[in-house]
Symmetry: C2
Subunit: 464 residues, 2 copies
Amino acid sequence: MADLIDDLRASLPDGAVLTDPDLLRGHQRDEADLCEYGMPAVVVRPRTTGEVAAVIKIAAARGTPVVPQGARTGLAGAANAVDGAIVLSTAAMDRIVEVDPVNRIAVVQPGVVNAALAAEVGRHGLRYPPDPGSWESSTIGGNVATNAGGMCCVKYGVTAEYVLGLEVVLASGEVLRTGRRTAKGVAGYDLTRLFVGSEGTLGVITEITLSLRPAAEESLTLVAVFPSTAAAGAAVAAISARGLTPSLLELLDQTHLIALEAYRPMGLRTDAKALLLAASDTGPRAAADLERIAALCEEAGADEVYAATDAEEAAALLQARRNAHGAMEKYAAEAFPHGNGGLIIDDVAVPRSALAALLDGTEKIAAEHGVAIGVVGHAGDGNMHPNIVVDRADPASVAQCRRAFDDIMALGLSLGGTCTGEHGVGLLKRAWLAEEIGPVGLAVHTAIKQALDPAGLLNPGKVL
Amino acid sequence: MADLIDDLRASLPDGAVLTDPDLLRGHQRDEADLCEYGMPAVVVRPRTTGEVAAVIKIAAARGTPVVPQGARTGLAGAANAVDGAIVLSTAAMDRIVEVDPVNRIAVVQPGVVNAALAAEVGRHGLRYPPDPGSWESSTIGGNVATNAGGMCCVKYGVTAEYVLGLEVVLASGEVLRTGRRTAKGVAGYDLTRLFVGSEGTLGVITEITLSLRPAAEESLTLVAVFPSTAAAGAAVAAISARGLTPSLLELLDQTHLIALEAYRPMGLRTDAKALLLAASDTGPRAAADLERIAALCEEAGADEVYAATDAEEAAALLQARRNAHGAMEKYAAEAFPHGNGGLIIDDVAVPRSALAALLDGTEKIAAEHGVAIGVVGHAGDGNMHPNIVVDRADPASVAQCRRAFDDIMALGLSLGGTCTGEHGVGLLKRAWLAEEIGPVGLAVHTAIKQALDPAGLLNPGKVL
């Protein structure tokens, strides 16, 4: 151990090799529940690609596992430490290397925070759309490693769609460059996409070339309130079937509405079973698009449909949606007497046509297992987050919630869906990944992992 | 050999195993120049995934190479046969399995022709945007295997962006399913993207799940005529820098204008050095967008800018662009007395800001080598096709053109570009791929190929 630390200290600048026990404990895990985590031997904070390569070479020579970490806001345990590992934090690699407005490109180090990039490209009249819930604290490197989603995806797609090229330190310590700076390119295998979403198991991302979009236009927002979640799901399917592409189409169920009103009261209707929040940013035709969406919500059985009267009200509604997670955590914490109440956050995506069935089925699962489940999510993508309220102090409650969680996964797959729409596999969904992709898919995953990391030192135990 | 044919006949239906020598000769190669090709032992035309798997298992057992072919419209030699190979034609796998308007998805066999899919989804009010030049004859399987582009890409992206999932027969004969039917999903490595553009070297694609878009809206079209290609390139950079996203932004140089007027006269200005064709499909704001594009063209030095007066004129202009390839082939054929004139079609993409430098540099290369080079392409993507006129009967001419071709590749890379924007690597660009991705990139490619096709039987010699 001392040797490992000595080797690292000899290769990295002062202050980049950290062994303080409190700090190590702070780097054990991300925000996922139900996932194991160990105690790292050391946390390193390199600033350059060369320093990352030096760390990986030391790890390779000694057979020490390496766990890459961004801001540890992940929700699948993909950043959890294993015992004795080197935790490689990219937090100090936080430089925006370049913003190129003519080619609409940004080049960044992995530790750049999503919100910092959004602000910087905004100064150039550009936009980096991906907006995971954690965008104010999560890093681009973490977003890329998990292929993060967000509310923009229904119209603007996920992180992967903005990654043109990568610099990656491989398990050997060699530096690979993938992709390009051009708008198009088909030279060789798509290694960029292979690393995006691979959760640190194939290499450590040290630089990212991103494509940008022109600045967003102002959008108009509406709210539709439904007497059942299934009716809200039917509205989403109808909107999709008519070829409408809102810039936002989010769902909050009654549990979340109640939690939000308790958290930051703003007059949301807590008697409603579901609320859809829709926006359109199509400029001169946004009002007409929202009118069509409103009509489809009414046809699907909405009790009430209203437009935000001004930008301020629209922003408040968007903020309420962003607050849903925090509100629900508070709701869960208070659901049990000892402050041990918590939230098990799930993530499942189904074809939009199956959204109503997913919502219906989740209600049945909650009733069957006698647990409270609040559902919130990106309805326009069929991507829902069923959030299960758990008493962390009570093993019976945890077991009950775990069963409900598994039943939701099984339901999602049975509806033609996937076990993770945007949070990733990490530790939390390994069994469900295997179920989803089957033995041949798993064998191909294993063959690729083996080809790129034969010693299995990069983020061991994650994904596979 | 007889054993191979017997084995195949025993596993495939009548008529699916073809050995007629004329037919074999017809399946030796695609449309690329400068690429070697061999004589296959047999051509098979399976209709089902099970039949493809049977063929691959026979090939694996005997160590016989397999070359997958679609419509053989490729321009990089990726479909060229090797001696003694089984050519696996997907032409008979031409079923559109499903069109799902609610989820905006189509499921197709690989032999479905692009135009046939476009027509079918059009009947559902949907659109499959990718439109390679070969769209009336090329297959979706070939489009996916090469990650084909087209004129839509400047706004709607390349083929890869529409592929949600694949069914692939692996080198072992096992059947892999990748991807999903959902709008979002991050379960495991992105195997879908690994197979897209892998040119048949990692597996045989037997079914494709595609995402679709709502039907296209009517677009408005304008023409800008320039006194130099560099001025046209500067206009493209300015359009991009101002955040405008036309639905079409194509360039034709003087050689192509002359060739087109000789082919199908329509009053194009043959005295111009370059013509830009731009369109906008943003509905109520299309006219305003085109006005801004027109102003930027004028600022960049356009001699003349005019809008198509009606849909008919717009369609004629688009057809002229589509005819450019045929017109240039005729021009090349007639450039030499013995009917031996031909065209070496190149494909290079650079950052949009470097387009003017690419066009300028290509003119210099033509002058230096004393060859005629016409340039046409997807200016909005920085993706150009420098087409070199060659006397196929004269080895000195072929050698001269090859040198010009290589100089264009080197120029493209020196400008931060890629050796292929949309045609792929095949046989034609192997050396340039190696140059572009470097030894580490090549080693990773080789490791992945080795992991998935250890015996090297799938489309041997292509890409790597």
